[in-house]
Symmetry: C3
Subunit: 266 residues, 3 copies
């Protein structure tokens, strides 16, 4: 077995048509020669921190302990928003303090959060519109190379959070939201087993407007009746609305970020 | 020269906008730390095993011996379809038994095919909709780390095949099919030098409806007359219909999967 | 720290839906086992050498010294165009001689340019439509493995250049061009600090048709007034037209390659 190189993942809204992603990768490899770079995704809708938070929460926990996760969705670049480096779930995360790490805070055990002090690190002349390349990449490379988290700057106790996961019960309805619609048309809600229990509602009593009785819950696509929307505990831990070989999102007219109001019918 | 890490390629229909690809990569690196991950492609049309088979057949043979090729286009996930690991052409392949490896069976020498026994490998609690992450990735990592193919489960002699490469002669016509249309509009047929010879037809006698005389065969785009569809032996070994600086597919109205009926005019 | 593997970047117009990119990666790893492969981008518009030149110029300089940059945008493949390998800015570049390296010639110090002699290297039987896989990849791998640049073929002193960066003053106007429009709608012109100085014009006197007074120059998006197009020195060194949280390109109706005529109003 060859020695394991430092591992850095990349999550951005840069797309893959512009020079930004290449420059970011070059800056990472300059800061940490030999590091292994792995993409979580770069097609996040521009500026969409909710989509970034969902992607990080669903993908980052599958990486080995000690991975450095660099995430840049940064509409406030060059303004007063803080830059963060943090330790959670045995791994490290680097990016802007704008809610992008909400799912990490919610789903992993957070050990320590630091604000990056660009001046102390000799990075004060970062280009004001590209902190990914000039600030976050050098810090991620620094940490991937073994530097202590405390070396990047002072501790932070009030990181910005997005209202990602707060379903609630409203009488005969459960108020949830759509976190993500995937390329197959599956609709991930913000309902987890824990939040459902918190609302005192089981997964077998959720109905749908204009429909009698609860939506069925199935474990796989192949066991669902063709042509019928059903519920599924998705692989990321959220309750999903699905349709075998079809798009539940198109059928139901749902998109990411929308509120969803499930009638409680059981 | 640095030591060579284990090499794993990835082929999926996951797209690059969802968390699935990142989670898959994390699971691979957890199963085989330090492995080098290389993408063959993730933009296969959802559930399209024919497109996956074409991509694998055209790209996988260019990798070094000993590469592990992980492929996941898996509409039947969670159902009764078998999971396979197989040795062919000096490399290993891991994925569902649904025809995705048809071009590998057709074009490489197959040494051994095994059905993955999830229970024996301690992987029986894979999430029922994401065997890529929870079953195929651990098996691919296991093999990339040096485990014997026989360790994954019992031998298989009847893997599923797609009808990928069966052109035939029908009197004054050659019946072929479109395997792939590339981004430049080149149309790859299922005709190889071997299948043409099998049909007793040369590449210089193929005509086209509404056209007099055979389609010209050229070696390069630059030697073809501008504006005229011609035939070309493509870099993947299939006979292609092409148009210099234009889309042959658009000109001829052809898409992947379609039957093509060439008049034999020579 | 683990030993650093040879580093090769990839820039193509292959897209990510066809087998070409996977085959190219396989050929690189066959030629240089263990090399680290990093993408600059593969979504260049087909055959668009200007876009390729812009991407290389903006991203390649951020990589460590000694990186090999493979670039394939090659409408003339199989024809008489030369194949090049060159040393510039402490790194190596491999690809067709069609202007794709113009920004490298303009922005880095060029040490040596060589024409690839396929015969001498035993690569004369490259497939005539896929020199990326069969000619450029073996040469890039050869160089990444430590071979001398002079070994690939004879010296070249007249490489092909595109008219990438030649703004000029025309009386009361500055004649520039759009090099690139990014996914956020920012419009990169071909104006650098050096070319502006050469034209004897500062960045604070550029106006816009139908508008009174000069366009404002801001350092960041967050300091620009909402809804107003402004100028910004972009992270790649070019003067850009930008709009906070919006598309300057859509607002102004500009696309890559277009001429831009700035009234000089100061």
């Amino acid at each position: 077995m060859s020695p394991r190189p430092p591992l850095i993942t990349l999550t951005t809204d840069f797309g893959t048509r512009d020079p930004y992603l290449g420059a970011l990768r070059g800056a990472l490899l300059t800061a940490c020669p030999g590091a292994q770079l792995v993409d979580l995704g770069h097609e996040l809708p521009p500026y969409d921190r909710l989509a970034g938070a969902y992607l990080l929460g669903a993908a980052a926990p599958w990486f080995p302990l000690g991975t450095v996760h660099l995430a840049v969705v940064d509409p406030g670049v060059g303004g007063p928003r803080r830059a963060l480096a943090l330790a959670a779930g045995g791994s490290l995360f680097v990016g802007p303090d704008n809610g992008l790490f909400t799912a990490i805070y919610d789903r992993l055990e957070v050990r320590e959060i630091r604000a990056i002090d660009a001046g102390r690190l000799g990075l004060a002349d970062a280009h004001p519109t590209f902190h990914g390349r000039d600030l976050f990449a050098p810090v991620a490379g620094h940490l991937a190379g073994g530097a202590a988290l405390a070396s990047v700057g002072p501790e932070v106790t009030d990181p910005v959070r997005l209202p990602l996961a707060s379903p609630r019960r409203d009488g005969a309805h459960l108020l949830a939201a759509v976190l993500h619609v995937d390329r197959f048309g599956n609709v991930a809600t913000n309902l987890t087993r824990a939040t459902l229990a918190h609302c005192g509602v089981g997964d077998r009593v959720l109905g749908w407007p204009g429909r009698t009785g609860p939506l069925a819950v199935h474990a796989t696509f192949s066991e669902a009746p063709p042509g019928e929307v059903f519920l599924l505990w998705g692989s990321s831990g959220y309750l999903e609305m699905a349709l075998d070989q079809g798009s539940a999102a198109a059928r139901l007219g749902l998109t990411a970020g929308e509120a969803v109001r499930f009638p409680i019918v059981g």
